[in-house]
Assembly symmetry: C2
Homo-oligomer: 419 residues x 2
């Protein structure tokens, strides 16, 4: 249940994260490492070198996912995979994604050093892309590894400069026939270690988050159409003020979301009021909705009832109402067996833990479609992420890595699992 | 009480408005005639020609206000002035401002034709600017005529191209020593005929609006500061969502404004939410408030109480709150004697009328500081103005002109007034 490693195995974790943060470092302390850019390429080559130095067998697949392999005694047994993504958002932090790769690499290296070859093959992966920050598409790395995407999907998607994903991939030296195909059919388990990016662990004083499910998400674009009119000569009773209607809707959204309770979250992140002139009543308002829950039925009913309530508000106010769904992902439960394994590892080390729902999407949800998948979180200071201020304490980072190592040890050296 | 004119005196009113609309005409039917531009200049020269043709003595003052004078038997008696502004907003209509000039010109011309010289001097004015559409300053014409502005105020104010008001004035041929000074000390009454720009007359089925007061206005810029955070990983209870706070404030604003009753109007015309990303909780929101009422005490208490309620909402939500006032004008009552004269003229012609408050600002409020001033409105179809769709029916336009003529007749030919 517990890997025969002491914490010195993870002593260099913070140093490794600091080195990774050099690739794409910005003056203000942020890191920008977008898919297929030079900082991205340099980070992957650096990681390849570190994997090799640890005695792992490395390879890039055609999409640019980097694997480091520790061959098991039974090469036909399903592979146990850990890792996360190497790309960042613009002006992101040094932990989101990078932590799961660095900790996985150190765990696999330490297991090799201490225990030699495992029964089952163990791999660490530095997935090429998860954030969707350069191209309007997320999970390019895990999506290609799990067959959700094929490389041909990169042809029609361009970045802000008009460069297609396919072009950028070729320029970075990928997408070649000679390279390993992306699709993995040999994975038996995927375990991803990540920073929480929320404040639940910090607030509850727990050290490890055990992810039971990754929320489903729905995103809508809502348009309200009223009548743009003179702010001075139009009495309150004769207005069709699209912004006043939006205000009533957003107040209701918040009330309904709070009433639904955790883990439901509902956010209007973008709102535009037209024409946007101080002395003109807004005739049109567009806003977005981002609604998440870990139960599909709850998500469905909340969205349906909220939009129906919005439509009723619009009708009463004489406003035109249109909503369009532009993103819908179902909730993804993590594997109960793997999560139980992680929980027992926390108990054995006497680390406090809590089961929780991930409100953010992760690569693990892609792997969950093709193999048992699990995730564990460590605390994010202040719940801040996607920011230069992203921070997790070195001790927390090492504890997460130790629990990951315990789990990987059980899965690849243990006699019990998946016989 | 009634001018000895039949309605044929105003038969060419629509034609004159159509001709004026040629200056600055746009493909889509709108009119853009900004201060000191070529269309503006052409319109003023056209009007000067029409005034001369009617036998009026014309002159431009240094700011570009155009006067047409019908000299009275007593040249020392205070002058009776009518008119409005010749400039438009961008893509405005053909009635706002232009109507008051055209109708005034036809009324004065008809009175001269029919009645000869009046007892007191009667003038029609085409004021150079009211809208503030080119330069960030409104009432340049009436402001200079009444001493609120001096020409030197044009030096520090530039349009979007960086051209100062003073430069534009000189390029249009004004601002010269040789020209008539702007300030009028000889005006005994100002009567302005205008389209309503609101829907009150149309809704109530009345033909003439008698303006009792022009509202006071206050405009504020409000900034709310919360915490921008991940829309998925931040529970509802741990948010400082600036947009949710703004929604609660705007809902309250509307409720309070409706409760206050007409003529109070309150509008948030512009709202920006930052960073404006669908999956990020807005950390900052800026919005504007435009609040109007015809009683200064009511305006003051409504603004004070509303901002206090906003501040309380912000405190409860843990949001930073700042408000800045950037425009404040007091309500301006119109002259009761002149308004009574207009009301009696409506009665004599059996035109239905209603007393009302002007929710928009007008040149009459500048003149009200230096002489008795009055305004009358005719219906605007659908309450639409500042738009190519601005429209008032020819019959309504003629009726307004007839009431204006009656009033001017009484003021300048009558034995009773201002002896």
């Amino acid at each position: 249940m517990r890997a025969p490693l002491d914490m010195s195995a993870f002593a260099e974790l913070q140093g490794l994260l600091d080195k990774l943060a050099v690739f794409g470092a910005e003056a203000g302390g942020g890191v920008t490492r977008l898919l297929y850019t030079e900082p991205w390429r340099a980070a992957q080559l650096f990681l390849e070198e570190r994997m090799r130095a640890a005695g792992l067998e490395t390879r890039f697949d055609r999409a640019g996912n980097l694997y480091g392999r520790l061959l098991g005694a039974d090469p036909a047994a399903p592979v146990v995979l850990t890792g996360s993504h190497v790309d960042t958002v613009r002006s992101g932090g040094r932990y989101d994604g990078a932590y799961g790769i660095a900790a996985g690499l150190l765990a696999v290296a330490a297991l090799k050093r201490t225990c030699g070859a495992p029964l089952r093959t163990l791999e660490v992966v530095s997935l090429c892309e998860e954030e969707g920050s350069r191209f309007p598409l997320a999970y390019w790395g895990s999506g290609n590894a799990t067959g959700v995407y094929g490389l041909e999907d990169g042809a029609g998607i361009a970045d802000a400069d008009g460069i297609t994903l396919a072009e950028a991939m070729r320029e970075a030296g990928f997408g070649l026939e000679a390279q390993t195909p992306c699709l993995r059919r040999d994975i038996g388990a995927f375990v991803e270690l990540h920073i929480e990016q929320g404040i639940a662990l910090e607030r509850s004083g727990r050290r490890i988050g055990l992810v039971e499910a990754i929320v489903g998400q729905r995103r809508y674009a809502v348009t309200l159409t009223g009548a743009s009119n003179h702010a001075g000569t139009t009495p309150m009773s004769m207005r069709a003020d699209a912004l006043a209607g939006a205000a009533e809707m957003l107040a209701l959204l918040e009330t309904r979301a709070k009433a639904a309770g955790d883990p439901l979250v509902a956010t209007a992140g973008r709102l535009e009021a037209m024409p946007g002139t101080p002395n003109v009543i807004p005739g049109e308002v567009r806003f977005t909705l981002d609604i998440r829950h870990d139960e599909d039925a709850m998500l469905e009913s909340f969205c349906r009832d909220t939009l129906a309530a919005f439509a009723a508000i619009a009708r009463r106010r004489g406003l035109g109402f249109a909503s369009r769904i532009w993103l819908a992902s179902k909730p993804v439960p993590m594997d109960g067996g793997l999560t139980g394994l992680l929980e027992r590892a926390c108990l054995a080390r006497a680390y406090s833990s809590r089961r929780m729902v991930s409100g953010a999407g992760h690569d693990a949800q892609l792997f969950a479609a093709v193999c048992p998948a699990a995730m564990l979180f460590v605390p994010s200071r202040g719940g801040v992420s996607h920011s230069p201020d992203e921070y997790s304490a070195p001790l927390h980072l090492q504890e997460g890595a130790a629990v990951l190592a315990d789990c990987l040890y059980e899965l690849t050296y243990g006699q019990e699992w998946q016989r």
